[in-house]
Each structure stands twice: as structure tokens, then as C-alpha cells.
Symmetry: C2
Subunit: 332 residues, 2 copies
Amino acid sequence: MSETRPSSIRQIADRLGVSTATVSNALRGKGRVSPALTEQIRAEADRLSYVPDHTARALRTGKSNTVGLLVPNIGQPLFPTFAQAIERAAKQRGLAVLIGDSQGDPQQQDFEIRNMIARGVDALIVIPTRGTTVMPESVAVPVAVIDSAVTGGNVAASDHREGGRKIAQHLLALGHDKLLVLAGPENALVASERVGGICEIFRSAGIEPTLTHSDATFEAGCALGRELDVTRFTACAAAYDALAIGFALAVRERGCRIPADLSLTGFDDLMWAQIVSPPLTTVRQDLEAVAVHALSFVAGETSTSRIFPTELVVRQSTARPSAIAQGDTNAE
Amino acid sequence: MSETRPSSIRQIADRLGVSTATVSNALRGKGRVSPALTEQIRAEADRLSYVPDHTARALRTGKSNTVGLLVPNIGQPLFPTFAQAIERAAKQRGLAVLIGDSQGDPQQQDFEIRNMIARGVDALIVIPTRGTTVMPESVAVPVAVIDSAVTGGNVAASDHREGGRKIAQHLLALGHDKLLVLAGPENALVASERVGGICEIFRSAGIEPTLTHSDATFEAGCALGRELDVTRFTACAAAYDALAIGFALAVRERGCRIPADLSLTGFDDLMWAQIVSPPLTTVRQDLEAVAVHALSFVAGETSTSRIFPTELVVRQSTARPSAIAQGDTNAE
DNA sequence: CTGTTAGCGCTTTCAA
DNA sequence: TTGAAAGCGCTAACAG
């Protein structure tokens, strides 16, 4: 019921008989205003509980202190986590975040980019939808593309290939020699980097992994787990945790025990990875670092592209291939 | 490298020798402009790939077509899901969503509310942080509070109490008579509604459940699962899935089998609920409906508060209390 | 030190 | 049917 008609700089100026410019200066400590007057203005400002109008300021200065974050699909569990990291990094700079969801659709992605620019974001952080590239020079504001080291115009990303290598080395060290790779979508650069890293290591050990492509979802993992003949492999490496988890559930129903019959690894270290049984060996990205660098890039503080190391998280879904599973199996 | 200095209404006007007002009118189909001229203006506009400046328009009209969404903690898995529902509902109205995170801190919540208003949001959708209330009349824009039926000023919410009743009826029907309730935080209204519903039904069957309070997190669930003596109960109902899942993992380590030794239920139907083993019996909210109503409320289309029914999702974590678990137990 | 002036790009009376 | 003019609230020159 309060008459909260927001008060303007004008009101303060009028009540104190000074000009709006002086009020503006005083409040922002910009031009030189006498301490005494500054004090008075301050006092009056919060007597009126004055809050600067962001819109007007944005129009005048051309800066909105807002960044747009465009994710491919916020339904996939990694993206909220990532959005949170961006939020934190943005808040530290006094920036707000306008989020948009491409919903896996390149057209929608283009639309959102335009929309956000029209809404006056100062910069854009884009995780491109599969199979798309975002040309920074075609956009009117600084853009940080976050995807993979091999993505054109990429500004910050995890070293997915290195993550793949770590997984492979871990599996190899355990003694695995028949590897199935759930490679995810064919046109996802992130996935192909991960898979590339895995294959690289296995091939240099003289082993050729078997690849299967599919969506990156939990459901796709289930489907694969129901169809594939897992007895031919000692280990399975998935390009995404969601894929691995779906796969795990499906193969378990078919009597395949993890890790006794088959070792399994994922990628991303979703919260899920800890809670499935057995807990999943996976690779964790340093999302915080990626977010901070992306913000720093769009803020113009750096113009370098950075690739961040990943971390292997060993849990209970991987083990040595058991003699039992290899030879004298006789489980009911 | 392109000189993308965004073109304004002025440029179009100048090139065509008409006034800015006419251009504005033509482009929006408002005032009456001759079809011929309208056509010309349209053509010129997209020749210059004109995009209206949202900021200027917002300043002039006082509407930004942006809503603020304030969540208590976007790290908790339900909130991204909910944010997505809001996003969808907002997009249908041509609104963008500015998200903010209170991080569980009432002060932060206040700050964010002010901040969003200063940034010119037309409306606010607030899921209050535990123990706080948001007074709509103290805020300068329409606010939709989403929490629970008993929250002051609540505009849209699921019927958490009814959800609790459904859980209780299900458990009772199975024959459970010794119930442990993981009641979540004491000052969370949502949790107390859920728990209230559960207790209501059990009491009317002459059974007094045992309550334990804790955080609503996975970790808190683990801790409880390690500490509590579960042999005294036939079933455990948690106020949140995360709590239930943490609990499940911890009690399993102690040799308690679900549902053979103990039935377990959660609340929220997180994606997790399907993937844990055994899959969790839980209650699903209709987030989409809640989101749509909240948007419709802040758009001024309705002024009623609505409570939406929930759905019991029965999975494998609940079963009849087994004779074994009741009497002749002799597990080590 | 402080005030005046001139817009940012748009919409909206009000006249022509 | 069109145009001129007046701002929304703020900041950035430039004067005083």
C-alpha cells in the first residue's frame, strides 16, 4: 500500500536547491563536490531511499552491467552448475546475468543472441549448441565462446582431450584391453575431444577401442545398455556421466556387475556420479576457473584463450578386470 | 571486424525523409501510417537490420519486458528445473528472465530484490529463502511468491500437505506402522507442510511418527543414515529426495536393505530419484503449472492464489514390511 | 567547486 | 496520415 514511486536524482536536486549534475557527481564520487554538500546529498538520497535507475543510466552510458549467458539446454544437469559458476563470477564484478536457453536449436540460438543484444547486454557468454559455431566478429558485443580447444573462437574451456587421456591411462593401468566407448553425438566437439583423448592413449598401447554414437542423455545410455553385447569388453568409457549412468542401470538389469564384470567411467562429475551405485569414476572440470576466465575476457582484461586442466576422480566403478569375468565365470 | 554500430529509428527516418514518430508508428503498427509508407519503412528497417533499442524503449515506457526470478539456492537440484519452467512460461510472453540467487541468505535476498527492481524488472518471482517472508506491498513491482499454501502472500505453490498425505496413505496401505520422518529444516514451511500431511494421516491411524530435523541436503541425509537406529522403524519418509537419497546410501552401508528392511520415500521427483537403486517412491510437483500461474499473476491476468495438486510416483523403494524384518531377523 | 546544457533512442501527445 | 516537440532519468562536456 506504500506509494513507492521511485525517487529520482531530480527530486534530490530540487529539495536541496542544487543541480542534478551535482547530485549525480556527489553520489558517484565523480566530479569534485565539497564534502559538506556531498554529505547532505547522501543524507537526502537515503532519506528518499533513492535507487539509481539502471535503465536510464544504461541508455546514457551505453553500459548495462549485464551479461547474457546462453546455454544449449538448461535441462542437462551440467549447465545449471555452470550457470551458477558464471553467476558467482559475474556478481563479483557487479554484473547481472540474463540467461537464455537455445534448447538445442541453432535458430533459437541465433534468435537469443540477437535478443540479448537488443536487451543491451554488455557481453555474451555462449556455450554453443551442438554443431554450431558462433562468429564473435558477427556480434556487436564481446563474446566468450565456451566449448572446446578445437572450437573456432573458443575463449575458455576445459581440456577435454586431456581428460580423455586421463581416463584411458587409468583404465590401461588397471589392465583393461577391450574397450567400449560411448562416444556421444557425432557432431559434438566436446565429446569428440574426450573420445579422441581416450582413443589416442589406447591406440598407442596397440588397442583399438570400439565406438558407439548416441545422444548425450541418460535415456540414450539406457538404450545402449540394453542393446549392446557387453561381454566382449572389459571396460566402457562414456563421454558423459548421464550416458554412463543410464548405461550402468541398463546393463545391471541384464546381470552385468560393475566393476566386477565391466569397469565403467563417465565425464563431468555430476552430483549423480557420487550417488549411483557403484559411485562413478569420472573427470571433473574446473567450471569456476572457466567462468572466471570467460568473464575476464569479456571484460577486456585478457584477450587470450585458455584451456583448463581437468581432474580424474577415481571411485568404485573401475577395477582390474577380474579373472572371473575373463575366464571361469559361472554366475547364475 | 564489422562496423556494427546499431542503427536507430532516426537513421531510418532521415534516409526516408520522414519523422521518427512515423517510423516508430509504422514499425509497431500503432498510429495510422499509410500502407505504402509502412512498407517502405519496413524495407529500410531491415536493410539496415534495425533492432529496436530495448533500453531506450524501457526508459520511455517504463516497461522492460523482463522478470526477475529469485531462487534460494540454484545449487539445489530442484531450482534449475523450476527456473527452466519459468523460462519457458516467460518466453511465451516475450519476457526475458533475470535470475538471482539468494544463496540461502535473507540479506542477500533483500539485496537481490532491490537490485532487480533497480535494473528495471517489470515483476518479480520469488521463492523465499527459508525463514523469510516477502511482503509484496513493500516492493514496487508485482511479486509472485512461490512457496507453500501457508506462506504469507503466496501466489502459486504445490499442495505439499496433500503430497505428504499421499505418501502417508501409500505407506499405511502397505502396512507400515513404525515411521521415521526426515523432516528437513524446522523453519522451512514447505517441509513442515509435507511433514504435516504425513503426520496427519498416520495420527488418524493411531500411529505417532518419529521426527528428526536437519538440513535439506544430500549430505545431511548421509549423516542421519549413519547415526539413526533404523531397526526401530518399518519405513522412513523424507521431506526431500536429496535427504532420502543420502539416507539410503548411508543406511545401505550399514547393511540395511531397502525396501526389504525399510521402505523409503522422498519428495520432489528429482532426476536422481529414478537412478538411485532402488528407484525412489516420491511425490512430483507440477512445476510447469506453478510457473504458468505465477507469470499469469504478475501479468495481472489473475489475482487469485492457486495451489496445485501433486502426484505420487510409486517406485521400488517402498514395499510391505517383510515378516523377516519384523521378527526373525538374524542378519549380522 | 557547482551549474547549465545537451542529449542517449525511443514513444507519445498534440498539431498540422 | 504525418510531423514537431517533449521528455523518461541519467551522465558528460563545458562554463561559470
